[in-house]
């Protein structure tokens, strides 16, 4: 029998339309795969099989009645940062305990209203703070990818799936859902996508509603999908994006049919190559990957232009002021009084302090303290205001570049997937994972990672496309050309299914 979990979202959609299989059969295939895999990979923190089967039954009725919607009967994973009505939502932090939201996130509601099926809640770094999924209160997510040793065999060393959307990237690459929701504050969609051979897009700030998504840094957070193919990402983003009166920063603009743009190619498109992304110590394989991308786009009729984004090197330090500052403010709400865990102390202040010390993990506590420091009396101008001014300059660099190019091409990450513990001891080394992705959040632009090759260790590498505000269409068009040239990168060995 065909393994239904191997389909892309678009293939499964077509199979359901042709009645080759039912939504219930498709959903059951994923539920079985999750049961067989989650012990090894830990991608889901809460599988919801009964919920999924009920949604699939409804979808089968709709398909039979000829009233199927855009994502009818398609099983998805949902990052645990998205509030799910009546279903535990924790942001993978102990502090939220057994929190069951009485509401659904707008992005989630859009997906369920389009007929999608939710298989469960996906693991992530605690409050989306991390680049390796090592900070989750539910433990590490293990990447389905393993390194190729000198002997040509796959090593058994466990690799990180990237972060913060590590459950999303692992689940999609391991065929534990057709596609997944994710969020990106400094690279949390694109970096895990690059490390697992999957596609990830962070749309323009304001494209997706942030309502019902646990807040990390509100001026940077955006939702987007992680998928197996460029087409799947186009289908997902179309469904996720909307104007939402409940999020004042969501943009009242029509959402284009991204899928329709996929075949248009890149003839005459002007592609910018920023010299500042050729960082010191960039490995030869990342350089080659970038050169391959340039060659593919050129061969497809695009023109290549050297550009300069002079403030690039300041994006990461500015981010590590803005993001912790906003996080310290957003996370002040976890006080142990209205929801989540409470550790009772000798007085009210003691109760607050004990609750927050016990509820937040080490990286979250560190960022809250940095944020509290930079916002404290006498330091606001020197840090937060300064960083917001640097943001203006970063955005201005891009505004200038758009006079000469239509899209920018860079690597997504400075290196391939690493092993557990390799970077978690040094916060600054971990922060450097986001060096190529964070500028995009600082400028609010859309950015997309497309798998483009394998490292010398046989693990995936991604190329990043950066677009003009609200021009996700050009990203999809260009990404399709890269995918057509590079091919797809399925996990070669489903080792976790054995035994």
């Amino acid at each position: 029998m065909t393994d239904l979990t191997k389909f892309s979202l678009a293939e499964a959609r077509d199979g359901l339309a042709k009645k080759s299989f039912s939504a219930r059969e498709l959903t059951d295939a994923f539920i079985t795969a999750i049961e067989a895999s989650n012990g090894a990979l830990n991608a889901y923190v809460l599988p919801t099989p009964e919920h999924a089967r009920a949604q699939a039954a409804e979808s089968d009725k709709r398909i039979a009645a000829g009233t199927a919607r855009a994502l009818e009967g398609l099983p998805l994973g949902n990052k645990d940062l998205f509030a799910t009505k009546g279903i535990r939502t924790t942001a993978c932090s102990k502090i939220l305990d057994d929190f069951k939201p009485p509401y659904e996130s707008t992005v989630g509601q859009n997906l369920w209203d389009a007929g999608a099926v939710m298989l469960g809640k996906l693991n992530n770094d605690e409050f989306a703070m991390g680049s390796s999924n090592e900070t989750s209160a539910f433990g590490n997510v293990v990447s389905p990818w393993r390194r190729l040793g000198r002997d040509g065999k796959r090593s058994t060393d466990k690799l990180v799936p990237g972060g913060s959307s590590g459950g999303s990237s692992a689940a999609v690459s391991a065929n534990l859902c057709l596609a997944a929701t994710a969020t990106d504050t400094g690279g949390s969609i694109r970096q895990p996508a690059a490390l697992t051979g999957t596609v990830g897009i962070k749309p323009t700030y304001g494209r997706c509603s942030r309502w019902g998504i646990v807040a990390f840094a509100s001026s940077l957070d955006q939702a987007g999908p992680i998928t197996k193919t460029v087409r799947d990402a186009a289908i997902m983003l179309k469904a996720m994006a909307s104007h939402d009166p409940k999020d004042t920063t969501s943009v009242d603009a029509p959402v284009p049919d991204y899928e329709a743009a996929l075949g248009k190619g890149v003839k005459g498109l002007r592609v910018g190559i920023p010299k500042e992304y050729r960082v010191d110590g960039m490995s030869a394989e990342i350089q080659k990957l970038w050169d391959d991308g340039i060659a593919w786009l050129k061969a497809a009729g695009a023109t290549i232009h050297d550009i300069s984004l002079p403030h690039t090197k300041y994006a990461l330090p500015a981010y590590y002021i803005v993001a912790p500052a906003e996080a310290s403010s957003n996370l002040a709400r976890y006080d142990g009084m209205r929801y989540g865990m409470r550790v009772t102390g000798s007085n009210l202040t003691d109760t607050y302090e004990l609750t927050r010390a016990a509820g937040f993990g080490r990286e979250v506590r560190r960022r809250i303290l940095i944020g509290t420091y930079v916002l404290s009396a006498g330091y606001y101008d020197a840090y937060y205001l300064k960083a917001q001014k640097v943001r203006t300059l970063i955005k201005r660099d891009f505004d200038e570049a758009w006079n000469f190019v239509d899209v920018v091409l860079t690597p997504t990450t400075p290196s391939p997937a690493f092993a557990f513990g390799e970077k978690s001891g040094d916060p600054l080394a971990m922060y450097l994972e986001d060096i190529f992705t964070v500028t995009v959040n600082m400028a609010g632009l859309p950015g997309m990672s497309v798998p483009a090759g394998l490292s010398s260790q046989g693990t995936p590498l991604g190329l990043q496309l950066i677009g003009k505000p609200f021009d996700e269409t050009t990203l999809f068009q260009t990404a399709q050309v890269i995918e057509d040239a590079a091919g797809r990168f399925p996990v070669p060995d489903r080792w976790w299914m054995k035994g």
Binding site: E353, Q388, R391
Partner: protein, 95 residues
């Protein structure tokens, strides 16, 4: 920028996070390292630059000042660690 232990304790108190003596020591080094690293922003002349407030220019949305939701006290208190009759039960605040 060196952050001393007294500053770490002051910040932790502001953030309402209890820290142990050992944590205060390690945070002293960690926070100092991070602040040293972000100090490279001082190289950038921002004297004539406005801080960024929005990615894309957009008019502030307005709506009528009317009640749009409510009468859901049971839902609001449903996740409370302690509640009674739709009220949050909190530790004694006033002596």
């Amino acid at each position: 920028m060196h952050v001393d232990e007294a500053t770490v304790r002051r910040i932790a108190r502001l953030a309402r996070i209890k820290i142990s003596d050992a944590e205060a020591k390690s945070l002293e080094a960690e926070l100092s390292n991070i602040l040293d690293w972000v100090a490279q922003l001082d190289e950038v002349d921002t004297s004539a630059v406005e801080p960024m407030t929005r990615v894309v220019a957009q008019a502030m949305k307005m709506r009528d000042d009317v009640v749009a939701d409510g009468e859901i006290a049971d839902l609001v208190t449903a996740n409370a660690p302690s509640s009674e009759d739709n009220f949050f039960v909190v530790p004694k605040v006033v002596e």
